[in-house]
Symmetry: C2
Subunit: 299 residues, 2 copies
């Protein structure tokens, strides 16, 4: 049985930043989020990759204890090509090849259906719904999304939103989805639609939590060695959900801690291309940076 079922993309990323580039590197929302979650619990991913997908990449996930029995193989792998320029805050997408994801129908292995925690990573909201229908009795479900779905499948997206406990969304998307520049108003609008908690990701500026009428603001980690932010949002979400699954405590207080763990793992992710930095750290590194966050916040 897996602790955390994750649906999302497993992809081949070609990324260029001012600090270097990689071609056809291991990427995708399910990859980053499951790897980040694996520091805390046993995740399983639902995704599809092509016949062209390097076996060594699947081995990287498998060796890490991530259940990949929900990864279908067929057709061509999803490919993304992106570029970060001077300011590094936003990727310019140069090319997207959906490949097998264009016709993907997620089917959950039996061992995933009892998962108590579910993360619907950024993917077509119809696929998010299909996954949600297959899990039996989840304790906590979180979803992520992106501007493409807000603009093209808003109705389906709102359908998913009504069924989840936590909405994870970045600041620009929150403003777009709820048609207000004010993030407090956006979060309040989201909560009226169903989720208990809204977590707004703000990149280098950290993250905000709105839950139980309370507000928490997590700082960004002061990274001097930012190399490639690809996957930081997914790593954040994965570590956050992994920590909640490990502690089995979805209280507001514990979600604050989960957000800091998410921020820590995301900060490591951004220090390297693909999984390079994340595969070089251990729980001790994570705990060390976690305690640095106390020093950054206290007054």
């Amino acid at each position: 049985m897996v602790d955390l079922a994750i649906v999302g993309s497993v992809a081949l990323d070609s990324v260029r930043t001012p600090f270097g580039e990689v071609k056809d590197a291991l990427g995708g929302a399910a990859t980053y989020s499951s790897y980040a979650a694996s520091f805390f619990c046993k995740p399983g991913i639902v995704a599809v990759v092509g016949e062209d997908f390097p076996k060594k990449y699947l081995d990287t996930l498998k060796k890490r204890g991530i259940d990949i029995s929900g990864v279908k193989i067929g057709g061509k792998t999803f490919k993304w090509e992106g570029l970060y320029e001077y300011d590094m805050n936003e990727a310019k997408t140069l090319r997207t090849e959906l490949g097998s994801f264009a016709s993907f129908q997620p089917v959950l292995p039996e061992s995933y259906k009892e998962a108590e925690y579910v993360f619907l990573a950024n993917i077509d909201p119809e696929l998010q719904l299909a996954v949600l229908e297959q899990v039996k009795n989840p304790k906590l479900v979180a979803m992520d999304t992106m501007n493409f779905w807000i603009e093209n499948k808003k109705e389906e997206l709102l359908k998913v939103l009504k069924k989840v406990d936590i909405l994870l969304i970045n600041d620009a998307e929150a403003r777009e989805l709820f048609k207000t520049p004010n993030l407090v108003k956006a979060a309040n609008s989201a909560i009226k639609l169903g989720p208990k908690a809204v977590i707004i990701k703000k990149g280098e500026h950290g993250a905000l939590l709105f839950m139980d009428g309370k507000h928490f603001s997590a700082p960004g980690y002061p990274l001097e060695s930012l190399v490639d932010p690809t996957g930081a949002g997914d790593s954040f979400a994965g570590a956050l959900m992994g920590y909640i699954a490990k502690t089995r405590d979805p209280s507001e207080k514990n979600i604050r801690r989960a957000i800091i763990y998410g921020s820590v793992v995301a900060s490591f992710d951004a220090e390297g291309f693909s999984l390079a930095r994340m595969t070089s750290i251990n729980m001790g590194d994570i705990e060390k940076r976690y305690s640095e966050f106390h020093g950054i916040c206290e007054f």
Copy 2:
């Protein structure tokens, strides 16, 4: 004697935001910063206004206990006209009339020269230098600046920077001045030039402090009723310096507290046009919001 000498503009602002507009309202960096500082200490301002400047505006400052003996009267008042659109994060300047500020030569009254704390608000760096030469033995000097001076008087600006203890700057300006998108690197570059502390203002995202090799991140206050952000950065700086002057403690630990007081007063400023909201609050309101900041940060 004044506790805190401030040089900066006293102006007539015409501002339009999605929530209303004002014409020829009391504004300017010295106005906002001195009013914010007056909750904590006795500030005195050095500035110039025109013959056209409404006497009631000077009375507002005077009644508040702000020393205005350094305000020269002559010619025409500095006027600024600005517009905030949907996102409210940046003002569009529609018109600027420098008026008497074009030829202003700051002269400090005797009662200001012994001031232990000095705030050089955003103004021509040559005027900031002229003020600095007139104060006798300040304990702590802070400066603010803006993109216009970075682009047009960079050499003079760096001269001032070498002589101050605290650089206050917003994030976009820090990136521009130190030619890096990375705020940690920008802050480190600034500190190499002289100041002990760098405080980066990030608007709704809060503020960062870099000092003594330590890092502090203050959250933004979750404002649902943002009306007009004009003067928020100046109010932040004024309250911050006012609190340091009151406590006479320039330690890193105390500057963290000063930043939170600055954030609190700035958040009130943004809830109204001109000084409307700030003139309606008292120290109790400030302390209440200060303690809310603890709840926003703790994990």
